[in-house]
């Protein structure tokens, strides 16, 4: 069985050995990068700087939450607001692979900038096994380019340190619990953020729609779980579809957006089954989205495919 304690000791030793000099770590606030940050922090202490990039594609309140979490760890921390840059490079990009590449490249350019300023030659990342498996290689098909692997530009001039490369999410969570990390039970959130949940053009307005819908899905599911109506799924969110549908709102014709709700149960993210959410909970989600967001959304659908044949996120 996986031994979290032993893993932590070995990972700290290995990061210490590999990292000669200063390093920065790419932090999203998720469990993978937070665990990597704490491990790297224990390995090299003050030679580490944690950098959080606000891409403008984060969930509601996320940037503030991450900052607070890092304040508690005592690791050097810096937050970079890059939302303008991201919306700029994503203009007109709709192909999902292109999207991931553009975002991955931008991440690296920002980290290179920050690394230079801090004098770091190493980039620590919270890459886990599914990231590189799904990103493809010589023998494996590309399923999706995870921004921290397949999205990396070839001419990157930092050395990568990836202490969690052979782990899956359930193991990372075990390590996180051992390390007392707050985000240990946080649901997975993809590196490219809301960009892969916005199948319409990526504009600040469209991202705001999917952000609010994601918040409502999370909030309703949290309430339902607290009331004992269901257990919290592995991952649950909203997707803005690139289509419109006809509706009727108070005797007036509507022609609005469509939100797909997705919720899955999984252990490691490599297979997943759609969650059996009670219809009353789905109904509460649908009603809240279509009334609070009536100017944008007039239809909500629930995605009932498993992985395979689908993937968890839509892109």
């Amino acid at each position: 069985m996986f031994d979290a304690e032993k893993f932590i000791d070995e990972a700290i030793a290995s990061v210490r050995e590999k990292t000669k000099g200063k390093a920065i770590i790419a932090c999203s606030g998720g469990v993978d990068s937070s665990v990597s940050a704490v491990i790297a922090g224990r390995a090299i202490g003050d030679r580490l700087l944690a950098v959080f990039v606000d891409t403008g594609l984060m969930r509601k309140g996320e940037a503030a939450e991450v900052e607070e979490m890092f304040r508690d760890t005592g690791i050097n921390f810096k937050s970079v607001d890059a939302s303008k840059e991201y919306f700029e490079v994503l203009k007109g990009v709709t192909d999902p692979e292109q999207k991931r590449k553009v975002i991955g490249e931008k991440f690296i350019r920002i980290f290179e900038r920050e690394a230079k300023e801090f004098g770091a030659k190493y980039l620590v990342q919270g890459t886990i096994a599914p990231d590189w498996i799904e990103s493809g290689d010589g023998v494996r098909d590309i399923i999706k380019s995870h921004h921290n692997v397949g999205g990396l530009p070839k001419d990157m001039d930092m050395m990568l340190v990836e202490p969690l490369r052979d782990l899956y999410k359930d193991e990372v969570r075990q390590v996180a619990r051992k390390l007392g990390i707050k985000s240990s039970e946080r649901q997975p959130f993809p590196g490219p953020g809301l960009a892969v949940r916005c199948l319409a053009e990526i504009t600040p307005d469209n991202v705001a729609v999917v952000r609010e819908a994601c918040f409502i899905v999370e909030d309703e599911i949290r309430k339902a779980a607290e009331a004992g109506k269901m257990k919290v799924p592995w991952q649950y969110f909203a997707v803005l579809l690139p289509t419109r549908s006809v509706g009727v709102q108070g005797d007036r014709r509507a022609y609005g957006r469509v939100i797909a709700v997705r919720a899955v149960d999984s252990i490691d993210g490599m297979t997943a089954a759609h969650s059996d959410i009670p219809l009353s909970v789905l109904n509460a989600i649908s009603q809240r989205i279509t009334s609070k967001m009536k100017n944008e959304v007039n239809r909500v659908v629930y995605d009932i495919t498993d992985k395979p044949p689908a993937t968890i996120e839509w892109e």
Partner: protein, 190 residues
């Protein structure tokens, strides 16, 4: 016990390693590794992969060489398809491909499925399937949509499954690997 997992590019090759590493000294190797480098193997696992074995066998590297080695072999998905064709069976696209949950009906509990009930849920993900099993092979499990879900060679310890015992959703997955390793351990000790 030394087990090499031949990587045919499957999404779940690393999962096979993850399950096996708790039971044996397991290593993932490329599927063009010279068989001589695997001389200390006690068992081999042929992983699944994206290539259609029927039409794209070039991407299956040296799998046919590995099948000549005198060790127990467990072929998974594309690995099972490859070994079936190698020994004279035929492959083709499934009429009704399986992705996700499949109800497996086990018809032989002698080896890989030892100690398991007759019906269990397994997860699959395949476009092609084994249409006719090679001479000297038996079908040991099937599903409604795929007749050859598992095969076994009568003369040699060679096994194949079309589904994926390494994924979390497959019931009794680790037990299947454990049964395979038990066979390998008996084989090693003669």
């Amino acid at each position: 016990m030394k087990v090499y997992i031949i990587d045919n590019g499957g999404q779940w090759t690393h999962r096979e390693w993850r399950v096996l590493r708790d039971m044996a000294d397991a290593r993932i190797v490329r599927n063009d590794t010279p068989p001589g480098d695997l001389a200390d193997a006690d068992a081999l696992v042929l992983s699944g992969g994206a290539p259609s074995v029927a039409s794209d066998a070039g991407r299956m590297g040296r799998n046919s060489d590995y099948l000549e080695m005198d060790v127990p072999i467990f072929g998974i998905c594309a690995g099972m398809q490859f070994l079936s064709e190698h020994f004279g069976g035929t492959l083709g696209p499934g009429d009704d491909p399986e992705y996700g949950a499949v109800e497996l009906t086990i018809t032989s509990h002698d080896d890989i499925f030892k100690g398991m009930p007759d019906a269990i849920e397994v997860w699959a993900s395949h476009n092609d399937e084994v249409k006719t099993v090679p001479d000297g092979f038996d079908v040991t499990a099937s599903s409604v949509r795929c007749k050859a879900e598992a095969v076994r060679c009568r003369d040699r310890p060679i096994f194949g499954v079309q589904f994926h015992p390494e994924v979390e959703n497959t019931q009794y997955g680790p037990e299947m690997f454990r049964n395979f390793l038990e066979i390998a351990s008996r084989h090693r000790n003669g």
